[in-house]
């Protein structure tokens, strides 16, 4: 009977491990969280978790901040992205493998305030970098761009 209970506990632990899987690694990280103030989170595979300095960011991740939140991320090609309060950004594409000819960075600023400093991908293939918003497509040819997307 006690053994059965232990098996249930083990199964439960395994299950909780599986449930947290969507926030585990999917290939190489695109970058890391460097700065967090107030409420900030990472959305991955439909799950939103609080962001902490040092957390890995992957392609397709969403970055979110609350009323007093701020979030700063540095990607592996040196691109820096930061969000002010009440902001929402999706990292739609991040490819940084020049040797394989794979280069691309697409970011969606859905609402709020964002700052962007371009990195190596813009230097190597300027046309492969763009920031999309509900109303525009911004082609960044270097280096420092700020965007406010004022939507209710």
């Amino acid at each position: 009977m006690q053994m059965a209970a232990e098996i249930v506990v083990v199964a439960g632990l395994l299950l909780s491990g599986l449930l947290s899987a969507p926030l585990e690694s999917q290939g190489q990280p695109a970058g890391y969280v460097k700065i967090v103030t107030g409420a900030a989170s990472i959305a991955r595979g439909g799950v939103e978790r609080p962001a902490h300095p040092g957390d890995a960011i992957y392609q397709s991740d969403g970055l979110r901040t609350g009323a007093y939140g701020r979030l700063g991320v540095t990607l592996k090609d040196d691109t820096r992205i930061s969000l002010g309060p009440n902001s929402q950004i999706d990292l739609s594409e991040f490819k940084f493998s020049p040797a394989e000819g794979q280069l691309g960075l697409v970011m969606k600023v859905l609402r709020g305030v964002a700052a962007f400093v371009s990195g190596r991908i813009v230097a190597l293939r300027p046309n492969a970098v763009r920031i999309e918003t509900p109303a525009t497509i911004v082609g960044v040819r270097g280096t420092h761009v700020v965007i406010q997307a004022e939507y209710p």
Partner: protein, 210 residues
Amino acid sequence: MMRRAGAALALVFAAACQCHVRIVQPATPTPHEIVALLKDPETDTVGRAVVSSTSGGSVELTHTREATRIVVGQPPRAPFRLSQDQIDQLFGEALAALPPAPRHFHLYFDAGSNQLTPASEKLIPEILVFVRNRSVPDVTVVGHTDTTGAARDNIELARSWATTIRDRLVAAGLDSSLVSVASHGEADLLVPTPDDTPNSRNRRVDVSVR
């Protein structure tokens, strides 16, 4: 009579009240976007951004604090200049969360050997100190070759150089969990050259600390 006057008065009040409410209520801002170009925070150079409306029309930003305003379904407005105060007011919160600039260290080997040049050897302890002073560091070690030889062979060669440097850094005390290794072969030159050009500056390992 009294009743009618009362009703009229009530109507006046209602109208006045509605008017009052309208004045007090903050005007809901029209959904819009502002895109601005700023000078690079480290080099002070000004880049370029092309802002294209999803419904047609585009403007180019080429000066610092130059901006455009866009409403969904309309072309971007002609560029205008924002003051530094307006930049701080609109974008200050996001700018305050911009991470520190990454720093790059270029390491070179003595020709045809696995020995670092004396100058590069001195950088190993410097890199460790720099990493220690960053609050949330991550480090990439990327190998690069010049354009002599086959591109495919150069990927492997540059990776072996990068692995050597990673091992040196870890042996010197760098936390290996912070480090990743990559190879860009001959696809990311420091000094642009045509194919099959020997160039000692391009044969390097780039350690970047973020």
